[in-house]
Amino acid sequence: MTTLDFLFNGFAVAFQWQNILFAFVGVLIGTAVGVLPGIGPMSGVALLIPVTATLTSGMPTEAAAASSIILLAGVYYGAMYGGSTTSILLNTPGESSSVVTTLDGYQMARQGRAGAALSIAAIGSFVAGIISLIGLVLLAEPLSNVALKFGPAEYFSLMLLGLAAVSGLAGKSMTKALIMTVFGLLLATIGIDAVSGIARFTYNFPILYSGLEFLTIAVGLFALGEVFKTIIERDKEDGAIAKIERVLPTKQDLKDSAKPIVRGSLLGFFIGVLPGAGATLASFFSYIAEKKFSKHPEKFGTGAIEGVAGPESANNAASGGAMIPLLTLGIPGSGTTAILMGALIMYNIQPGPLLFEDHPEVAWGLIASMFIGNLMLLVLNMPLVKVFAKIIQTPKKYLLPIIVAISFFGVYAVQYTTFDLYLLLACGVFGYLLAKNDYPLAPLVLALVLGPMIENNMRRALTISNGDFSIFVMKPMSLVFIIAAVAWLIIPLILKLKGRNVIINDEE
């Protein structure tokens, strides 16, 4: 079968009524998650995993996995749409990838052009979503064919590269990022060892035999951590929300933003494919690029529509691009994709090159549904932008306790143990404390997901080589990955020593 046949079959999956509904619910919740300050895409996706798990519990495994990943991915790219709304109307970004949108978006809103800014952001996101999906369709097959030739040694090194990339770019201190990574890997070793069947670090607590549940830790660290932060450091009451008068952009607006949208989409897509660099960096780079390209760079910061169109396209394209390493290589490049991967693994579906062969329904169904979802977002966002702006006003006093209650429900409904509820609360406290002190949480979650796979591949490689560690540098591909991983960690250090400012990626 050719790629087009697969894509066609994917659309057949995506057009099943329950999957259309799931995509719709996903993008709707995603937009809300993006709009609400305090819940980012990462905690939004983590919170919804248990809900989707129960919604799909009656279905056969593969269909259930396809439906839930369609919903969860919808939350991910829906949040990228929604994030721009608060940036433009309130000058407070809904999530970190929309920080640069505040620069020109809020200025536009103050000039009474809020509607134009919002709709350009939506159009740009839509174009970016489609461009990155075309890239995904084109790259998926060749990349997974390459990856199929990988042995355990190559996989081990590739995963190290993934971890190095995320740790190298996360947070202000690389030492702290690396500590979180190693700690995540160590937490992943708790439980029964899959290769030898020996219990490790369980101390005869039966509850620990299956290991610490990834879902509990992710929800605790991100969702509860964020809730605790907002309770303790209650943000100042938000300012007035700018009025939206005219929703449609003018012809001049469209003309001005056409090129930035295309440039932002392409740039964002390629940045998204790179592990470690995510939507935040993409939007940042796009803003700089637009300022360079512009004939009137002095207009930036005073309400230039290019400054909204470029970054908003870039962050959406990056979220599409980030799906590529996840789906084809089985290596998530960011915190949110790590959580998506954890969700797939919960359904016993292993992302990676074999995904397209073993579970075409899941892989292509997801890709096709992203086309539909992006279309839904455009249709939803243009007329409903005023409704979404209302969500911002949800009182925190109701929102925060309900998030706690949803986390409790989600974790308990999947795990059926009170132990996980205590673990959840503990992770919430640690998540708050660690994030407050610049310990990035994304590497920990990534390491927790990748940990068992890294260890198994390492041991399989060493079994092949009879315990000789040189196998990792003797295989050419593996050597390339290891060199890249080392470079990713060392180059920022050298730049720092030279006194250069290193751009880092925020949690997303």
Partner: protein, 149 residues
Amino acid sequence: MSKTFDRITGIVFLLIGLLFVIESRSISQSAYGSSVGPNIFPMALGIILLLLSIKLLFETMKYEHVETSKEPLQYMKFVIIFISAVLYAAVLEPLGYVISTFIFLLVSFQTMERGKWISTILIASFFSFGVYYFFAEFLGGSLPGFPEF
């Protein structure tokens, strides 16, 4: 960033690393199915964590004293909500989902902001009944609904 916090975490991670190194020595070395036993990976990671936390401790020496702007922190609210969440976890099974969730939400809503009893009671009961009936009755999931006598 807080120097004290980084020192404490440095020491805590140092101890965790040490614990993993020591404890992985007592894991059986049987390498059934693989030429490397289940102890190698955690031990190596433990050593790396040890080294990293020593590096972190050294880095804290170099911190310049940063005056952090003191914002009023609402620890009381957090403590009340956290304790009620712990109690919520404890009574979820014996008391059932609906009652425990209702009480937890009511307490937290009132902690966040006093007053408006009617709307808080309405939202709390709507959420706890709604989630339970949607999940347990409509979707057929299993959740301890009410106390068993």
